[in-house]
Structures are given as C-alpha cells and as structure tokens.
Symmetry: C2
Subunit: 106 residues, 2 copies
C-alpha cells in the first residue's frame, strides 16, 4: 500500500479566495472521520490570497478514489468550481520525513 501525496492549487476569481477556502475547510471537516485521509491542510498563498493550496496525504490510491467517488457530481464541488478560474494538481511520492505518519512510508 503506497501513500498518495499531492498538492492542489486553485486560483479563485478575483476576491473569492476566502470563499474557496471556506468550502475546502468544510470538506476537511467532512474528512475528519475518514481514516484514509491523513492530511488535508488548506492554505492561502502568502502574497496572493486568491491562490489556495491544499496539502493532501492519503493512505492509498484506493482511499483517494473512494473519497473522490463520494463527492463526484456534488453541489459542494460545483460550488467550488464556480469560484475557481484555474486549478492544477502536483502529484507526489512521499519519501519520508517528519510528520504524523511519515516514518511508516519509508
């Protein structure tokens, strides 16, 4: 079982970054009880508040896929996408480090 790490970068329409962040923080609350989701941290870029970065860490691709299947086509996703003019994913392989679960991934 291989962890999935990724960053999502969302660029909101001008002035809407705060709303995007609120939606994503609500999504994070919804993930609170999901053992497959190990990190879901919502950040804004220091000098660009309309640029939101999410740090994600999932126990496995299957856990990520299951979570995505649960929200696919939802009103919550549509609401975020309406506020966003650009989005990208940076897909990563976690090598290790200091963190709640990093040691197990080595």
């Amino acid at each position: 079982m291989t962890r999935i790490a990724r960053y999502a970068r969302l660029v909101a329409h001008k002035g809407r970054g705060g709303e995007v962040a609120e939606h994503l923080l609500a999504a994070a609350d919804g993930l609170g009880g999901d053992p497959g989701c190990e990190l879901y941290l919502v950040n804004s870029a220091r000098s660009e508040p309309d640029v939101i970065w999410v740090t994600e860490l999932w126990r496995s691709q299957a856990d990520l896929d299951a979570s995505l299947a649960r929200i696919r086509g939802s009103k919550a996703v549509a609401a975020v996408m309406q506020l966003v003019r650009e989005h990208e994913l940076v897909e990563l392989d976690l090598l290790g480090g200091k963190g709640p679960t990093a040691a197990e991934s080595r």
Copy 2:
C-alpha cells in the same frame, strides 16, 4: 503565534534527485526533536524524480528562524545546494483542515 507553512521546491541536476532527497531526509531526522517543526515531509514529483518538494509546517516564524540559523553555512546545506540547479519557496498561511495540529490554527 502564527504558524508558518511553506513548500520548498528543489530541482536537482539531472539524475541527482535521489541524493537531494537523502540529504533532506537526514535533515528531517535532525528535526525529530525540534518542537518548533511540526511537519517536514520530503516528496518527489510523481513524473519528475529530480524535482523534490518539501512540505514544511513550523510553530512560528521564530522557530523557523532559529532552525535556519542552526544550519546556515553548514556543510549539509552546501552539499544540497551543489546538487540543485533551481529552488523556490511557496510561502503559505495555514487556514486549517485535517492534520496533527491544524485545528489549533483556526
């Protein structure tokens, strides 16, 4: 006290990404006992193994500054910089989410 979140992106010279990662994993081990460092996760980009991303979370700017002061001018830093042809920092404000310490940051 405000948390400092950031991503560091390092592009290694061709074929040297693994060595860069090894240095950063050693740095993470050195941070194991530093309560100011809450996350230091070393990742490689999924499709570009010479691109290394570090996810960092620090308790405060003072903690980050103290850590940087300890390693400034060190051989370890020089060794990494010799292997790297490009580096950038994405500076973030942590808004919250799911993670070891995210709840406190809201």
